[in-house]
Point group: C2
């Protein structure tokens, strides 16, 4: 089952440590400069096809791998697009978005690298990212400041793109304003005749950046209509949901925006176990339009969130890389539409 | 709101391109070698605290960021642990595992980098990873071969750890045999008196590596008992589930292992809509023990899967990095136990 690679030449000629371009040059019978030209494909010098082939064969035989670091030192930049890895486990919507984006950037010959910056925040994190000399950096969230952008650019990043609620000086901004999601949910519930709306605010760390704006959006949607908005802190576990459901009738709510579909499923189950009629007594709406909402009974109303598509975003990054001097792009990309099903 | 960093010295003295260690040396009034000693913290040379401080201040003022690439070229390796990013959107179990592992490696001062290798497979991918010169590589799945391991090691990786069904020559192996999951589900259904078992095999690309072994595990669990096992291909959408449910009675099954909890939720809903009694007519069991299974009615039986904990795995990586000559570790890490609820 296990095959040892057959490289007799490598065994006899190569040193025991990592083979270098000098070894490749010796085996191919060319200069080191030629090896460098061929393997780094600089296009600066014309090299004949047979020589090219000889170098590639020697590299393969020796198992020589060019050093991305050394290459990017010479070229001044890499094809690496760096994204910080999410600090909390990614939800299904974001996971899908990420893998779509990765594929689209891959097609444009970029490599996406997700960087786990545990414990690092803001401009400190930017400094750590800069050490990898990415050609572009894509930062979800609101944590990067103008100094961080400057650090990244000085280190050679040609494009810094933020995905967050506010633009950051010097960076392209894809503006994702989660108030839009709350506004959409609030307006839907108001239009369904509800006047006492609860809004679930997850207690899980890392969700504040979304939960706050969503709550705020509901408030804005019903401002001046006499509708009350009640904040409902909730941990993502059955006991917390049961406790909230047990005191539900004392809250005198006729509707709830449950933050997203997963919290909606949790809360709706607890309300149903408590004998509360949905939607008669309480209307429930989630967000994200996950499959699970359609599988619930009553079927869950939700807010469909459209993020920028992978190919769209990849193209924006590519354009920004090609023209690093262009004025920063500001584009609103988060789109929310209500999906009315049976639970409201 | 937007603050431009105040760096008058930088503005007047620094070049417009990325500041170099030479610029730092000039501003701090020390030699370039001193800058390198201080910023790379080699510990090879003793340097006084005031000098150290001067260098750090000059670096900060100029916005100088050391080049990880250059640093790893000098040091011969980095603190980077590379993992290929999953090709399909990660499920909740894997997302949680990943972010736990990331945190644990971060505490040991490693940086986890997830590498999106779109279109690259096997040893070709290994070559791309090697270019980043990671100190350790952690590869889920079965795609890496012994040649890929050799390439990584030659490029300076001190530890290569695979998470997959089979060990790979030269690498440490955390053995994850998904037949264990199928065996656990099959045994549970058999013990509940079921003798005609369907097994859902997702049609989604990328899941074959798990679905095949799980099916195989069910077969092994009931071998020689006269129990039949029927393969049920299923796409993750409502129409496909409804179509399968519509012909359910003609299949004459009394139980189904639905691949995981999410497919179980999808199929259970379709069976219920078809009026099929669960568990009376058909017992349903999922896998992963997600929260959603507890929220269904009847409550979903499942297979709880224990992956190695983040800190455990991080420690193994760290030990392997410290002692690259140690014999490869082989450890079975996937643990499966049935969780009996109401659906079986």
């Amino acid at each position: 089952m296990v095959q040892i690679p057959k490289t007799p030449a490598a065994a006899s000629r190569a040193p025991r440590s990592a083979p270098t371009s000098t070894d490749v040059a010796r085996l191919a019978g060319v200069s080191r400069a030629t090896v460098s030209y061929v393997l780094n494909d600089t296009g600066a010098v014309r090299i004949s096809e047979p020589t090219r082939r000889r170098v590639h064969e020697a590299a393969r035989e020796l198992g020589y791998v060019p050093h991305a670091a050394a290459r990017s030192l010479r070229a001044g930049h890499s094809r690496m697009v760096l994204m910080p890895a999410p600090a909390i486990p990614a939800g299904p919507l974001y996971s899908r978005f990420l893998s779509e984006l990765q594929k689209a950037l891959g097609h444009l010959d970029y490599t996406v690298v997700q960087y786990g910056s545990v414990g690092l925040r803001g401009d400190e994190a930017a400094r750590a990212w800069a050490e990898l000399r990415p050609v572009a950096v894509l930062v979800p969230g609101a944590d990067l400041g103008p100094q961080g952008v400057a650090v990244l650019k000085r280190s050679g990043a040609r494009a810094v793109v933020t995905l967050g609620p506010e633009p950051v000086e010097g960076a392209h901004a894809l503006l994702m304003d989660h108030r839009t999601v709350g506004r959409c949910a609030g307006r839907h519930l108001y239009e369904r005749g509800r006047r006492r709306i609860g809004v679930v605010v997850p207690e899980e760390a890392g969700l504040e950046a979304f939960a706050g704006p969503r709550l705020d959006g509901v408030r804005r949607a019903v401002r001046g209509t006499g509708t009350t908005v009640t904040e409902l802190p909730l941990a993502y576990d059955e006991r917390a949901a049961a406790a909230l459901a047990a005191r539900w009738r004392s809250l005198r709510l006729d509707a709830v925006f449950a933050y997203n579909d997963e919290y909606a499923m949790l809360l709706m189950r607890a309300l149903q176990d408590e004998g509360i009629g949905i939607p008669e007594e309480t209307a429930v709406i989630g967000a994200d339009d996950l499959m699970l909402g359609r599988l619930l009974r009553p079927r869950l109303s939700t807010v469909r969130i459209r993020l920028p598509s992978g190919p769209q975003l990849a193209e924006l990054v590519d354009r920004a890389v090609r023209d690093p001097a262009a004025a920063p792009v500001r584009r609103r990309v988060l789109d929310a539409t209500p999906v009315h099903r049976e639970s409201t």
